[in-house]
Symmetry: D2
Subunit: 290 residues, 4 copies
């Protein structure tokens, strides 16, 4: 098994002298050899971000062993404010839920890429407030749940969604053109683990009906933005964006069609970056080691 | 002379039956054969836009002759509200003025493309509120004028610019990173004949310091927008836009550097479209036959 | 019905004086008003290409009536060598067959766009030499046929395919990553009506295993090419191409993954252009009015 | 001085356990703290590539001191075949020569970016076989040399160029649309230090007149390729590539115009990557840490 002894180590902390040497030494002491590395120190804040991919070298390593070994060795560094460490087996497959509304293009695209082996995760359920999405989930034999937003209060509907996400023990929630606004408390609860695709090149055309806004303004490119969900709608940290050229011949319907291509590309790339543990979030910015 | 007997015909009017046939017939009657055609009817407004390139075929044609012949033949159509006709010899070389401030990249790029034969216009002067732009103008032997914005009131400075544009009999004014806001009356006076390059992907980051805004928001693409100047700052009809991918490693200075590439591309393309009479403006949207 | 009285007129012939006026006049006489027009005369060959979209204006029009009316009116012009006229109702929905082998991404993408209403055609069957594609066809309730290429001679297999295409009365055959090379006679038989997606940016890496070739050469972009099938493999007229940036980190498997995105985009765009009658073929070049 | 105590460390060697830890430890011992890191191990060859940016931390560091300290500490590793180490002060400004022929767009673009502060190098001379390039060099006050290729044998002309490059003590030679083919011995002499811009998307249209080849083939994108010069013409390791969309309307002259944009972008990016020591070459592939 290729990934059996491969791990990701993500460290984020205030910069200071010798972090790389310290981390490298501890890894070597634990029997882990670095196969890929990326590091960045933010020039203004002086914050340090590092991602390593390491392999066990002649020893047996576990996620827990590596994690506790590193935490013991770098206790000083990690007890600083704003420090974090993540150790994750490359075998880890996060449990992903897809949420949708009426449009199916993002759900189908994520499922198809997943089926093709492009996304190292388990898609454990599809939830939608429109029942016809059941068909798309069925193609890929993924459990489907319809949550009604018409005949019950929003609170009850979101309660049902939250219950399902808990029940399925979901690691990552993907709003794949889910058109209901998550309440603040649920956005908080899953901060850093809920990804949305917004159908505009943010911050342009935040809010409703962005393609009609774009048509009215006469822009020459449409776009889409994949971002983490935060209580501030459309203000979450951006993971990826995509744009396509348009012309005066494109009606709002054409913009929606071209926009769908942007949406599925930006969402798929953003989701892939997230599940491969390549994204650090700091404030409303992201550091991405792709 | 290849272009001697070549003309552009641009017609814009409310749509009605048979316009194409009518215009084509009049052109044939006048001895002009169509070598390129593009037409578009806006689905919502029903407005009709057409651009023809025609050549004299066995007769002597002049811009004036073709213009008056068409106006006579289509008087009915042209006396409608919102109708316009432009007949222009392909030999016409508009007189262009470049306005700049501190940054030279757009001025140099336009001048270099002009020198290389990419822009069918005469660049008749460069005007800047920073005197060092004189050197760049000098490279291309284009007259330079420094207009001071520090030691005189803005009104006086803009009066001086307006005087220069009149004196040089300028057809097209290009704000090539000119950082002073044109007063409304001058923007009105040259409506449809003054092009600006804004250093963001509008409507994102309108206003000052867009690259710092973009860095603060953490977007993954920077851009630039070439648009006609209107009294509503940053709201004019968009001719072209360009974007480039950025990452967390890019500082605001890097964004400015990458943005400069977007700026010069979008400006050069927009200017080229304008001087080749390929742009119709209607409301705050453009119809472009490229 | 919006398109009931809308037609496409495609004319291609050696250029001469007054074609536009002549065609426009005949259309007006027949009661058709032009709603969109595009025209191009090739500078070297002097060949003339025109595409009109016209609507009936106050009269009843049929495809046959318009076609025969135009042919009668322009008999002189159309009897020249290299002349052709196509009149097509905008209601026409070509019958499309999809051919696939092992990979499903192009088939699923075309079917999903078709389902979403992006492609104005009828996909009448899916044919593959790998039986598992049946599942994908089934999702969209499109008849599926497995044609075996292992246990019978190639000739027999292609005979079976040809029979199916005839039986389904197919207008457009799409090789959606179909990895068997069509024999010359069948390529001839469906010339101009069979579209292939090649998994490289042609003419780079023609032939087998292009992503491995691309990796070995160390290029920084991968691409895909949508083209008409001709007896000269990989040499057919190109409709569209797409590229994506890659890096040294991308393995041949990553190139295949990124390449799949190029393939499905280029194929979907090329197919859309073809079924909307926007493509002229002349020699091994295309003229496209998008 | 911001860069006074900043260094780049580039290490390339066969992979083995603990290289990162070893290098990190030696750097820490020498008083250097890592501010940026990138590492890559080629999956097939198992070759290891690492680039660090380090800063002196509380000690005085010199390029020589760091270099000799690292070589002493890692003597074992570095005496393996295919191992190399480069230590370079971030203050180092390589001496760059630009070679041109008739076209000025690449020369002017590199010089203008250099003037704007985008390229951390010293452009010490411009050499061309067409004398009019003198004017462009003069704008930027860079010494110019005309080397005649008409009235003397090629060997003599290249001898003169080689002499100039030696005389100016040039670190990087940039063939900025220089249309003479370097003899093998000179290509060898400056291997890894001579950059060319080829006016096609290699490997498509290698050889002469690529834009005419591209027009004849009817491709839908044109491109340019920045690569290291090797004795195998057009086969050198690729640093960067750029493409732009074209259409049937574009004549070979339009392709050249659009191609010029690709050329100057690909060349400027490639040169920047090279002078910032971000490119490893291995075989005919590059590893680039941007």
């Amino acid at each position: 098994m290729e990934h059996a002894q491969r791990f990701r180590v993500m460290l984020s902390c205030p910069d200071r002298r010798g972090i790389v040497a310290e981390l490298s030494r501890h890894l070597a002491d634990l029997g882990a050899t670095v196969v890929a590395a990326a590091q960045f120190t933010a020039p203004l804040s002086g914050h340090f971000f590092m991602r390593y991919e390491v392999m066990a070298d002649g020893v047996e390593l576990t996620e827990e062993g590596l994690d506790s070994g590193l935490r013991a060795g770098m206790a000083d560094l990690l007890q600083q404010a704003d420090s974090s460490l993540l150790v994750r087996s490359a075998q880890f497959r996060p449990r992903v839920a897809l949420l949708a509304s009426k449009a199916s293009h993002c759900v189908v695209d994520v499922l198809q890429r997943w089926r093709t082996g492009e996304l190292d995760c388990d898609i454990v359920c599809v939830i939608a407030n429109h029942p016809h999405i059941a068909e798309n989930a069925g193609w890929f034999k993924v459990p489907f749940h319809h949550v009604d937003f018409k005949d019950q209060p929003k609170e009850a509907a979101f309660g049902a969604i939250d219950g399902l996400l808990d029940e399925y023990d979901v690691d990552v929630t993907v709003l794949a053109r889910f058109m209901q606004v998550f309440p603040d408390d649920l956005a908080h609860k899953r901060a850093g683990a809920m990804i949305n695709i917004h159908h505009s090149f943010l911050p342009s055309f935040a809010g409703a009906r962005p393609y009609d806004q774009a048509h009215a303004r006469g822009v020459k490119l449409v776009g889409a933005t994949c971002h983490y969900v935060t209580p501030d709608l459309d203000e979450g940290p951006i993971i990826d964006q995509e744009v396509l050229r348009i012309s005066h011949r494109d009606t709002p319907a054409d913009l929606r069609r071209k926009g769908r291509l942007c949406e599925r590309e930006a969402l798929a790339r953003g989701l892939r970056l997230h599940i491969e543990d390549r994204v650090f979030v700091r404030g409303n910015r992201t550091v991405i080691f792709d």
